[in-house]
Symmetry: C2
Subunit: 328 residues, 2 copies
């Protein structure tokens, strides 16, 4: 009855968490985007693992190069959300029989590209036979202890912000999995979000050092879920009044009579940072990010009341704690 | 033609290696047991990943608890072979649908046990749906740069040694996979080697600090293959004159008319350290290890001639560079 088909991914993590002895004075809680351990008085080693599984993570049309690159980028994004730059990446591969030399090379080139794009090196790993394509990476970086941003520091009154727009991956999945149509240029821009996600490494690094950010998470499970996790771990709520809808998502939603807010909130596989920022540091944070050629978008405010709400056109509605999840 | 069914694991690693940009001044070569990166002038961060795949790594009769524990131990063994103690372990799980809550708990308890046994903590990871049971761990430790033992420092005249006996896992696989018989007590001792391997963390740590060891590798791919790798990366050869055959292997071989030397050399999934030791430091190294309640066994000598040879009963024969390998 309690099988994995019914056990959700997060229940499995909870069951396993309860079996683990806790490390004394861990620098960051279990369940945050990364794990960390002291390497000396001031410095932390920061690690994250995230597994790319062909069967569930590889949408139609994604090349092996893109898959391998994404497997690296999704790990680097977890470091980015904590303000940490990656220095090395390792990977464990599970490969089905029947891959050609060219396909293995595609994977190799994708792994290298994902790491080098962010200044890191792919330095090692191992290879196994498996039924699926499994590309499991670990990214490592170090950081000063005082610069590590956790998920748990958001305070009522803080500004909720993102490093970019949302919705295009949800549109992309509608195109790839449900066969929805989009004109060529729009389709290309939307699919780029699915096939070639980017991690916000420089943004996270600069923000961590500005001491303006009180909590941060990457948005790989979708905006709504990321907000839910941040709010839960910080013991606060959020009132979102400017959902950061991507222009492509607006167009795609209009074309198909879809709700762009839903596409923006309940997607996933996006790698923007979702942050809370001290109000007195907002302008400074915004200007730091625009100097990188990006934009910090104010999407709402942290509330004392522990609920997730969306205020739109004078109406306030709850944001559901749902998003991308395996074992759905 | 060049498919993964014909591409061997080590060819795949070679193909991928050629796609990777090399990290300048990497503290250890690609293809060693671990990867490492500088964290300050004197210290290195040391990482290793190794994937446990149910289909190929889980022999009949192994429990999920034992599988999870082993998945941790095999990573910790890689650190041990470089003289590094583990501080944290992370794991990426791929789980098939249909696992019960109790089975997930078994995995959780096994992960915890594997880490705590060696003073480390399991601090994080992620969970995914997959067709096989995949338990992919990363172990992290730090070490002084001067104490990292690589695979490449063996010199002619050095003593070749192991931290224990070999052969029992090969016998275990014959019992489990080929149905060979063994009396109860013998069978139990043999299967313990398969189900509950141990990593030689204290041994590796103490030896690294004694500055007696010139090269080291863990023996997860079998003794012959480990010797081959050590010899290749050090540019030397080995003459083995006392293969470290386990007493259980001797008995099992006698029972079935098998060659105990073959069982000792060509097994795998053993986690002893295979080392080369400076002759003038041999007695010191041996005494350090006996103080830990273990035994450092002299099995041969490093030769200038780059070949692997076995000298037994006055006869010298080549040792084949073969052993445990996936994609066989």
């Amino acid at each position: 009855m309690d099988e994995v088909s019914s056990l959700r991914e997060r229940e499995i993590i909870e069951i396993i968490h309860r079996c683990l002895e806790e490390m004394p004075s861990a620098p960051i809680s279990f369940g945050d985007d990364v794990s960390a351990v002291s390497i000396d008085r001031d410095m932390l080693a920061v690690l994250t693992v995230d597994m790319f599984v062909g069967k569930t993570d590889m949408p139609p049309g994604m090349t092996l190069y893109q898959a391998a690159r994404k497997a690296v980028v999704m790990n680097i994004s977890d470091l980015a959300s904590k303000g940490v730059k990656p220095s090395i990446v390792l990977t464990s591969l599970g490969l089905p029989r029947g891959l050609s030399r060219e396909e293995v090379e595609e994977i190799g080139r994708g792994l290298n590209a994902g790491a080098r794009e962010y200044g890191a090196y792919m330095v090692g790993g191992d290879t196994n036979e498996a039924s699926d394509i499994i590309i499991d990476c670990v990214a490592f970086g170090k950081t000063e202890r005082r610069n590590l941003i956790s998920r748990s520091g958001a305070k009522p009154g803080d500004i909720v912000a993102t490093t970019g727009d949302f919705g295009n991956t949800a549109c992309g999945f509608k195109i790839l999995l449900e066969g929805l149509h989009a004109p060529k240029g729009l389709k290309e821009r939307i699919l780029k979000a699915v096939y070639e996600p980017k991690a916000r490494v420089e943004e996270g690094y600069v923000l961590a050092r500005s001491r303006s950010v009180t909590a941060s998470i990457d948005s790989s499970d979708g905006l709504a879920w990321s907000l839910y996790e941040l709010s839960k771990m910080s013991g606060v709520g959020f009132l979102i009044d400017r959902p950061p809808i991507a222009p492509e998502t607006e167009s795609f939603a209009r074309l198909h009579g879809l709700d762009p807010v839903n596409l923006c909130l309940y997607g996933g596989e996006e790698y923007e940072l979702v942050l809370t920022v001290k109000p007195e540091k907002w302008l400074e944070a915004r200007s730091l990010i625009s100097r990188l050629g990006s934009e910090l978008k104010r999407i709402g405010v942290v509330t004392k009341e522990k609920s997730l709400k969306l205020s739109l056109n004078g109406e306030v509605v709850p944001i559901e704690p749902k998003g991308w999840e395996h074992f759905k």
